[in-house]
Subunit: 211 residues, 2 copies
């Protein structure tokens, strides 16, 4: 039932991969909204959910300049997971999950160049809702100074995917037990306007397109 | 925009908490399907998505006896996150996410007692679909021997929650910019029967109830 050991697991360094694998990695990252950032703080692992952006083969993470997880230093592991369904088998042992997952390992680089810093915040914002960067007030000097951005290369990354029906023991297929997949999907609800929204403001088109 | 720093963040040891906090922790775990398990392998962090179960104030994780993440040793951090919505503010800086998240720290205990081992696998199975333990073939001796189960106490854990509208700078409320929340939810699709399902088997009631 572990997500980490399936027949379709693939684990490669990106630079050794064909274009299809790179496209699959990008697709998994682009379809996700949050990642789980793993760092070592005072010798202990710490796993923090956080938003992210991507530009080419670079992933951007950001947060407060006071964030422990962003300033842990050293290597990180960032994981993005889409849970696509529960796999119900005829035996307890072969229960599993259908999913798409990407893991990225590396030592992130602190983004110090002002242009890259701003561009990374644009990538992070556009990752949430394309068009949102142009629709909102951009960060001022004080806000920029309060925001740490880390860049993480996708060079060392892996993609793991499980899809399809359960794989039961041959002799179990005769059991009178229902087996199959319960699909799961993330869906958008109706936008909830801020109670302090200025009168007459409708949901703009770029947001409506996201839903 | 980081999930790790919101005004409503709470961070406590469970044993110092009131019953409401404990109930909230349990509710977050019970509503989730996968966690992200953070371990240290060869000095590097590793974050692996995996299924889990809960019994009282113990969380159970399991996997193959060959799993690197389950046999890393030492402290772990397990994080369960529900992404409830994107928070679109009038300024880039105040974009955020609504979420419920639980983080559990500790040194897991290898479950060696056969009764607890079996009970933990029941908890893991029932966590997916209540009723599924009685509906499926239970693990045989060989399968049990191939399955490692770890028990992790919920004693040291934290709950972080952000809900509600964006918090913009006072002067930004006058901007003609749409702001609010785009809700997100996980939903079940129609069950997909195994292509090799024995004829005449309908989706049983305990599974239909889960959807």
């Amino acid at each position: 039932m572990s997500l980490s050991s399936t027949p379709r697991t693939r684990l490669h360094r990106l630079r050794e991969r064909a274009g299809t694998d790179r496209a699959q990695l990008h697709a998994i990252l682009d379809a996700g909204l949050i990642c789980h950032l793993g760092v070592i703080v005072d010798g202990s692992p710490m796993v923090v959910p956080t938003l992210y952006g991507r530009s080419g083969d670079t992933m951007y993470l950001h947060g407060s300049t006071g964030s422990r997880s962003l300033h842990a230093g050293g290597e990180v592991c960032v994981t993005v997971t889409h849970l696509d369904g529960l796999v119900l088998a005829r035996s307890v042992f072969h229960h599993s999950a259908n999913y798409r997952s990407a893991m990225i390992y590396g030592v992130p680089r602190l983004v110090e160049d002002p242009d890259e810093h701003l561009a990374a915040l644009r990538d992070l914002t556009e990752h949430l809702v394309p068009g949102q960067w142009d629709a909102t007030r951009r960060p001022n000097r004080k806000e920029l100074a309060a925001t740490t951005v880390l860049a993480l290369s996708l060079d060392e990354s892996s993609v793991k995917v499980r899809q399809g029906p359960p794989s039961d023991e041959e002799e179990d297929y005769a059991l009178p037990t229902w087996a199959g997949v319960l699909p799961l999907a993330v869906s958008w609800g109706e936008p909830v306007p801020d109670p302090r929204l200025a009168p007459g403001l409708e949901v703009p088109e770029h947001i409506a397109r996201r839903l």
